[in-house]
Amino acid sequence: MAAEYYRLNKDKVGELFERARADYDVVAKTRDANGNLVYGRPATFDDVAFVDEQPPMSAKAFALPQTETLVRYEREDEKIRAEGPEAEARDVLLFGVNICDAAAFDIIDHVFKWDYLDDPYLGRRADATLFALACAAVQQDCFCDRISYAEDGVDTVAYPLEGYYLVKVQTEKGRKLVERYHDLFDAEDGDAEAAINTFREKAGTAKKEPLLESARAGLEKAFEHADWEILASTCIGCGICTYTCPTCHCFDIQDEGSAIAGRRLRTWDHCTGRTFTAMPAHQPRDRQYKRYRQRLLHKFWYYPERFGPLLCTGCGRCITYCPVKINIKELVEYFGGLKDTPPGGARHGK
């Protein structure tokens, strides 16, 4: 559908949230026990943090939970009862989600509906409506200005302009949301796209050349580059970058329980870990730098080769939360030939 534009008065946001809670399972940013920002289910608008600040964890868990039961089984005498995952009944509204989190779903949809239709994921995805909030300023390590990911899959985006939110509606689901609460929205009569462009310029989120897509030609030649070993060897192999990433989607399948009762479940897994794929076979990448290289090349070479978009929205979490601050953007630029100096000055020199 062609994009539509509306105005949402800033003091109507709370009302929108409260009323949406009657119709949707509303997920929004809130604070956890330690005061950190998280996506959660705040009960009132007072607990909602309607801000552009990025929570450490992305919003992907609402389509791909960290732990998900695939089947439960129970044995009674000679009979075995097995039950599939319970369907979740309610439509989810991701309220005030960052654009980099919202746009990720469209990217990873490709893999979940590729050769095998992943029903649990696709079911939750089909039930989810995205109401994104555009950032008024770039955040610490993010680089969405360097990636041309498609925003048009995000149902609605709210741009905080002077006095009101300019709401861009891009899908049928988005239109349904606006229609439901139409009395809260006003028509936008000005040149909305121009206003959005101005906003983006000011926020620093307007696209800047060269886009990281252009590094791919260089990356395709860089697999054997000697400097991987030295630049990616500081990787400690934890799962922070992949677990906080909105687009990383690998999982492991595990069984819990006994011969009498138990369940089969899937949990997030990470290619940077030393036991990744150890369950079906073995971890083929014997050194840590190879595992890091796999993550980077999967995002910037293999995935776009197969599906089109980069497996990255430039949210920058994998830099901010990396214990050793490995910078994926810098490494893509260096190995992709967009930049001559390696980050930190480390070279192998072989």
């Binding site: 500081t234 949990t267 214990p323 070279r347």
Partner: protein, 294 residues
């Protein structure tokens, strides 16, 4: 007068020129962060630095470089780590060149707000907790020392966060830890950032027997963290890297501190004080206090 940065870069260049080392492990500053970097002689040392954001415990990178001659920047944290590793025969000291530095006390990244003022001038309230307890700011064991020696303030007593948790009742503590553990995403960064967690295979990775359920749930996460602390009992040198790296901000080092404090009282024991100090669980006394045994 040369800055510590210049002195350090010159010292590293000399180590490579004299063919003393194959790799140098230090901190580099780039794109707004200070981070660990592994350098070879063909690398550009001009980004090497040592500042108040040189957080990482660099001893963590030694296993990856085993067999090579390595130059390593050592703060007090690394020195204590090396002592434990030496006691456990995990370090090749003759292949190691310890580059000593005067440690200015590291800042707590969670207390730093964006665009903070001059980092050098930030006072004790911005320090990491461990730095208040530091025993010696100038690297003992140093083969090469760069920068000017500083005085070490009297180490602070007490464990503020641990003591705060201990003020709660048992039920409150269980609820508190349960809340903390509900945040855990089991990325295992606390284990992997720890220079003393060097096992090739960890109990969390075992399937048969499956000690810890793979599903992410508060009780499973708590069991993981308890066992992690048991495995570091009498070995943890309180560098607090486990807590610093946690992406969701769980103060996991509190569990380690429980044992560090108890072992200090019970066995008169500071882990990593010297290379001869044997970790507490690898030895025993016939009359160890057994107040809980029936």
């Amino acid at each position: 007068m040369a800055t510590i940065r210049e002195e350090l870069q010159a010292a590293v260049k000399k180590l490579f020129d004299d063919d003393k080392i194959d790799y140098f492990v230090g901190y580099a500053e780039d794109y707004g962060h200070t981070f660990p970097a592994i350098l070879t002689k063909d690398s550009d040392p001009s980004r090497l630095t040592f500042d108040r954001k040189s957080y990482d415990n660099l001893a963590n990178f030694l296993p990856e470089l085993r067999g090579s001659r390595v130059g390593l920047i050592c703060k007090q944290c690394e020195v204590r780590t090396l002592n434990v590793l030496a006691a456990e025969e995990q370090v090749e000291r003759d292949k190691l060149v310890v580059v000593g530095v005067p440690c200015p006390a590291m800042l707590d990244p969670r207390k730093l707000t964006e665009g903070a003022a001059d980092l050098d001038s930030l006072d004790e309230s911005y320090w990491q907790e461990k730095c208040r307890r530091c025993l010696e700011r100038n690297t003992p064991l140093a083969d090469v020392f760069v920068g000017e020696r500083v005085s070490t303030p009297t180490p602070a007593e007490g464990w503020p966060l641990l003591e705060e948790v201990e003020k709660m009742s048992a039920e409150e503590r269980l609820a508190w830890w349960r809340r903390q553990m509900s945040l855990c995403i089991r990325c295992y960064a606390c284990r992997l950032a720890c220079p003393l967690c060097y096992c090739h295979q960890c109990f969390v990775e075992d399937n048969k027997p499956q000690w810890i359920d793979k599903s992410v749930a508060p009780e499973n996460n708590l069991h993981y963290h308890i066992i992690r602390a048991v495995h570091l009992a009498g070995r943890c040198i309180e560098c607090q890297e486990c807590s610093r790296v946690c992406p969701v901000g769980i103060p996991v080092d509190v569990l380690n501190n429980v044992l560090s404090r108890d072992f200090a009282e019970r066995f008169g024991y500071v882990s990593g004080e010297t290379a001869e100090t044997q970790p507490a669980l690898t030895r025993y006394e016939r009359d160890d206090k057994e107040d809980f045994i029936l």
